[in-house]
């Protein structure tokens, strides 16, 4: 049975799109049939992070409005044939997304895929609300930083009130994904640590993605980090998170990149 997952955060720039691409690819790498859906109408970027920006012909809005059929808008990944992208539109008309239209598209995607992963736009406007509306599971991406944690708390409240599942009186699964974590700074008391964030938000932890230069390198190249460098710390964190998402019991660790002594001594700031 297909699972609809929303990757959301409230705050922008915390790593929703990066995480959508990385988790989607990680699930697809394990043989699951995955579609990642960009809900950021007007500011689409998932296509770019996935390296499919030159292959977009039709988009989510075209399908919602009936201009194109769903299969025409789906873009199969060139590296992984179990990974598919449904891009957002670059139109500035955000009202083009309707609840009925999105409901129809999600229902159709459920028939074709094992996982439907919706990349939410930042904020709490229409696009973000529709991205979470039909989800079974939510991944809340949070940076260990006060504004991100506050916005995550707000989003958790909205997930519990405004999703279809919540309105039916069911519980929506919520998972916390902490990104850009710096274990050293947290240990020195310069950054909120994992326990602090978990205590404040009190939802189960899906994974801890360390701050890593591999994330920028992967997006520069248009490849999800789990595909681009599967052995990097960030990729290992996402691969573990994807296994937990599938229900596997994986020990929680904070992966680290091995670095030479010179890098450790002089390169810390350059990361």
């Amino acid at each position: 049975m297909a699972k609809v997952v929303v990757v959301t955060s409230g705050k922008g720039g915390v790593g929703k799109t990066t995480s959508t691409a990385a988790l989607g690819a990680a699930l697809a790498q394990s043989g699951q049939n995955v579609v990642v859906v960009d809900f950021d109408v007007g500011l689409r970027n998932l296509d770019l992070v996935m390296g499919a920006e030159r292959r977009v012909v039709f988009d989510l809005i075209n399908v919602v409005q009936g201009v194109a059929k769903l299969p025409q808008a789906l873009i199969r990944d060139k590296r992984l044939d179990t990974l598919t992208l449904l891009p957002a539109s670059q139109t500035r008309d955000k009202d083009a997304l309707t609840e009925n239209g999105v409901s129809r598209v999600i229902a159709e995607l459920r028939q074709k895929f094992d996982w439907v992963i919706c990349d939410s736009p930042a904020g709490i406007e229409r696009g973000a609300m529709l991205a979470m509306r039909f989800a079974d599971t939510a991944i809340i991406v949070t940076n260990p930083e006060v504004s991100s944690v506050r916005d995550s708390d707000r989003i958790i409240g909205l997930l519990d009130a405004k999703t279809l599942k919540a309105e039916r009186g069911e519980r929506i699964d919520k998972h916390l994904l902490i990104t850009r974590y710096d274990q050293g700074r947290a240990a020195r008391g310069e950054m909120l640590n994992i326990e602090d964030v978990l205590e404040i938000l009190s939802i189960p932890l899906l994974g801890i993605v360390p701050e890593s230069e591999e994330v920028l390198r992967a997006s520069n190249l248009g490849s999800p980090v789990t595909l681009n460098n599967p052995l990097s710390a960030a990729a290992r964190a996402y691969l573990d998170a994807a296994r937990r998402l599938k229900g596997e019991d994986v020990e929680m660790t904070i992966p680290t990149d091995r670095r030479g002594l010179l890098v450790k001594l002089f390169g810390r700031r350059a990361a």
Binding site: E145, D153, A186, E190, D196
Partner: protein, 106 residues
């Protein structure tokens, strides 16, 4: 920069945690009931707007959310010609968790 400020810098994460805990404890309790004040404000302004033309810069609205009682103060200057009332100060006190407060506004 003194020696002490070096130590203070180390403690910024606990400060962040405490600030968040206090803020979110408050935001969570008001999440469901906070809209009461907003709804009251909108309905009061709409009701008065039906009878007199209200100029936006002649309205003063103050909301004060407290632990037990919240205050919504709407101060509207009504121009003289249409009504004999020169100035109508309206003060509503609502306490979402206190039954008598609800009665007063209901």
């Amino acid at each position: 920069m003194s020696v002490f400020s070096l130590f203070r810098r180390r403690g910024s994460a606990p400060v962040a945690r405490d600030r968040l805990q206090i803020l979110l404890a408050y935001e969570r309790t008001t999440r469901s009931s906070s809209d009461l004040l907003i709804v009251l404000r909108e309905e009061i302004l709409t009701a008065i707007g039906r009878h007199v033309v209200i100029e936006p810069d002649r309205i003063r609205v103050r909301m004060d959310r407290g632990d037990n009682v919240s205050i919504l103060e709407v101060d509207i200057e009504v121009p003289n010609p249409p009504a004999a009332l020169p100035r109508v100060p309206l003060t509503f006190t609502s306490g979402p968790r206190r039954p008598q407060g609800n009665k007063a506004i209901g």
